[in-house]
Amino acid sequence: MVLKVNDQGIIETGNWCSITPVRGVEKLAVGKTPEQVPKIASRVCGICPIAHNLAATEAMEASIKCEIPKDAKALRNILQLANRLHSIALHDILILPDLYIPGTETKINPFTAEEPVRTVAKRIQRLREIGQTIGQIAGGDCIHPRNTRIGGMYRNCSEQAKTKMYDLAKEGLVLAKAQMDFMIAVLRNYQARESVDVGGMKVPLPKTLGYHNQGYMATHAFYGSSSLDECPTWDINRFKEVRPWDWYMGEMEVSLEEPRYPVGGTTKIGTKVNPQMEACTGIPMYDGQPVEVGPRARLATYKNYDEKGTVGQNIAREMEYTDSLYEMIDQIDALDTCGKVVADFIPDGDGSLGWATNEAPRGCDAHIARVKDWKVQYFSMLVPTTWNFATCSAALTGAPWQLAEVIMRGYDPCVSCATHMIVLDEDNKVVAQKLIQ
């Protein structure tokens, strides 16, 4: 992440890029069978394999024009929502250290054994367990699901397993409501502060933290869409990708250090960086502009949610806690455990272009595929964080540089490679670089 700041340390330009090696995987997929590619896709990321597995599977099905049985769709929906439940809980752990225990100046350490945080941490862990257990039942495995297949699912679940999922979802609903209320309370407490502490520095908190005007893109409140749908909610013709060279700044040099910045201070003076050259993903655009994807995009599109900024984004994510469980209970209710879960006929593919979007916890995960004679000819993944890179970059403008990571965490970024944060002064010299990983 490269930031150009003014004399007051306020960000004028944000540049957040990734060096995630996604393109290599897409080339690797060419020539493989459609069954192999979702397995490969689920390994590009350690945090959201379920979303990539489902999106890749459905992109293949879209290309070969294979409709799956309704009970297979129900199982995939349950798996999807279980993944979302687990992921929101994981994100709570990510952002809690930024927030304060209300009425105190103590920041929340989610790993402390002290109350009241301990109770919250246990609730988060239980929600994660519930999400993973339901995901394991529906998807065959809670990390890299192995029950999904081209044409549906390998097997339906038993009536006993359905009851187990239902019981867990009901338990999760009570916990999720309590967790949502807690998180919204501490987020509102943070929002009301005049300043916050970052590594011992008192940093003014702008009321417009994380604001941007880039617009939202969401394809479904819970699941996604595909080119097989009667009324698809994503249009591949409105998407285009530009080169990072056209978007990011060129070579810079760090000219200031801030040793108090957690954890371990910023990067040493003199370090050279070049986001223009280091970025290895394109900049995806929808209707010619970067867009925000994720919980707020879904709530804005399907519920008219309208709170801007980082706090609004985090609150939208918390509101998806109970939404995902109510929908999950409906999907479990609808599941016929005696129903077939594999399509009667699975075509080999005629080379048609197909796409599928999956509304992953972090946002729209769009996969595009072309399959002919049971071989993949083309495969592309537009993952949520790739969509959000340029939007988050815009959202950084106007914030103190010390709060750049707070804004970034609002997007729940999933970047599997190292990301660097750099601060520039008025002469475009880099004044700080933070190694996030």
Binding site: P21, V25, L28, L94, E129, Q136, H144, V415, I436, Q437
Partner: protein, 181 residues
Amino acid sequence: MMQSEIVIVGCGNPLFGDDGFGPAVIEEMEKLILPDNVTIQDGGAGAPHFIFNFLDPEVTKKLVVVDISDFNAKPGSISKISGDTLKPGAYIDPHSWDGVDQLCRISAKIDTTVVMCQPAKAIKKGDADVEIGLSEDVKNAIPKAIQVILETIGVDYGTTINLQKEGSQRGAAETCGHQER
């Protein structure tokens, strides 16, 4: 409950050559009939984020982690170490969890063993060369690794008989409460 008394997790990413050893071992172990108190899990690339939810110190007595490690041996060599001997890493943030750090914390409460295989070439963090498939030496080490794992958890699956020294490991399964096969 998801938690079992014995948890075996294979870590690594099959997209990066020999790093896929852990998941490959788990794939082979899925063909075995194991006692009900044993859970095997393909932790894949996300093990540090996900796998600790499978562990409850009140239920889980034994954890076996299967991974590759560069310990200057011949490619395909298998070794195992106790979790007590691991050195903690640095906590950065919840999206950059270092699994070793957490293993150190948990090994005080759960008997932890790491079964390691020497890869054909050392893989460093940040390597981006995508290459599917294990090297021949590492692929051939899978049966040996499974033998070591079964010996570690005290399951006599036939293949482990010759490995077990007199009086060793058979009691381990009893202390973990599983029924001897």
